[in-house]
Subunit: 202 residues, 2 copies
DNA sequence: GTCTATACCAAGATAGAC
DNA sequence: GTCTATCTTGGTATAGAC
């Protein structure tokens, strides 16, 4: 039996250079499907095609991986909303928000699911960071509602509650929408905007 | 050193006769706080004040415990809504539903949290049972909306979506309401009813 | 009905070779 | 950068004594 030396039967990993992103993708999907606590590092490694030990070249521990995924999601959300050109009136701004929120969240159901479901699995320190980002987003929405009340186009007894109510309602889309389903994305947007608009209007 | 015999230093358990309910209460609280997968049988036992092995006198396994808690919650929800005297008109029925849903859910935040968050930790068989119960509840709400559309008091492009949107909005109350907070339960009910009413009205 | 003890397995994380 | 091997801890569930 001869040998090609160390080049043969190479089991030392692919060194592909994209292991980092692949780990994040696999973790995102698995955490969303089964929950953070139910997913093992070995399972993530298997999905990526490496051994469990190799994961620790990319994350110091499992908690940091979860936190990083959640933080990325929240900062992307804020950046994307910031990038939407602001309309003048509150009504039009609210309409833009409704459409933006639905589309952004439907495009990344796994990240959204994790961002809401795994808050309790964050350390206190990490939780505080995510909470601040979430609050920033909510404050942006409340600003629109307040503007609308001042302009007299909205009638809202409590803008903070209305903010949370609208966001909760829109988040519900992710639980039932399927792209092959009965309604197109535009129709979904229209139906929800009608409800939101009526709910907040004067 | 003398001894009182086997009556002394009794470590053989309390035999209190209420261990069963205590296990369910502890499991409900812990599952809600930390998630089903993150809670161990040892932890539940510790809360109850027994050893882990003793739990298996009350449940065949951890999965059955989760399922039993979720099923109890859903059947209680359906029974409680059935017990509400039905009003004549759709508008009044919807108002009764809004108040009922908010109050029922605020009274059992842990059970509600579990019912929504732990669906993915049920076996396929158990999941199907819970889903059917949830569907029954939703169909009751959709019935009201359909009646309102027929009577001309509601204008709703899609009663199924509106049902899910209303429920999602109302469920949001559980994420922020605190009894010591700024608003009384009656005020919360009023604020949400105003939004729901406007959202579905013609 | 509960205890103690344990079988059995899988988890997160690390060490050192390559 | 990844592998293999392993340390340590803690999980579910069961057996048999009391």
């Amino acid at each position: 039996m001869f040998s090609y030396g160390r080049r043969m039967a190479r089991t030392q990993g692919s060194h592909s250079g994209i292991t980092g992103p692949k780990i994040r993708e696999a973790a995102l999907r698995l955490f969303a499907q089964q929950g953070y606590a139910a997913v093992s590092m070995r399972q993530i490694a298997k999905e990526v095609g490496v051994q469990a030990g190799a994961l620790y070249n990319y994350t110091p521990d499992k908690q940091s991986l979860l936190f990083s995924l959640m933080k990325s999601h929240m900062t992307e959300l804020l950046a994307a909303w910031d990038a939407v050109p602001p309309a003048a009136g509150a009504m039009e701004r609210m309409r833009a928000f409704t459409g933006f929120h639905i589309r952004f969240h439907l495009e990344r159901p796994d990240a959204v699911f994790i961002a809401y479901m795994e808050l309790r699995n964050l350390t206190d320190e990490n939780f505080a960071v995510i909470e601040t980002l979430r609050r920033d987003y909510e404050n942006g929405v409340e600003g629109i509602l307040k503007q609308g009340v001042e302009q007299g186009v909205f009638r809202i007894p409590d803008t903070k509650i209305a903010t949370l109510a609208v966001i909760a309602m829109l988040n519900g889309v992710n639980t039932w929408y399927r792209s092959e389903g009965r309604l197109t994305l535009n129709e979904v947007e229209r139906v929800y905007w009608e409800m939101v608009q009526k709910a907040v209007s004067a």
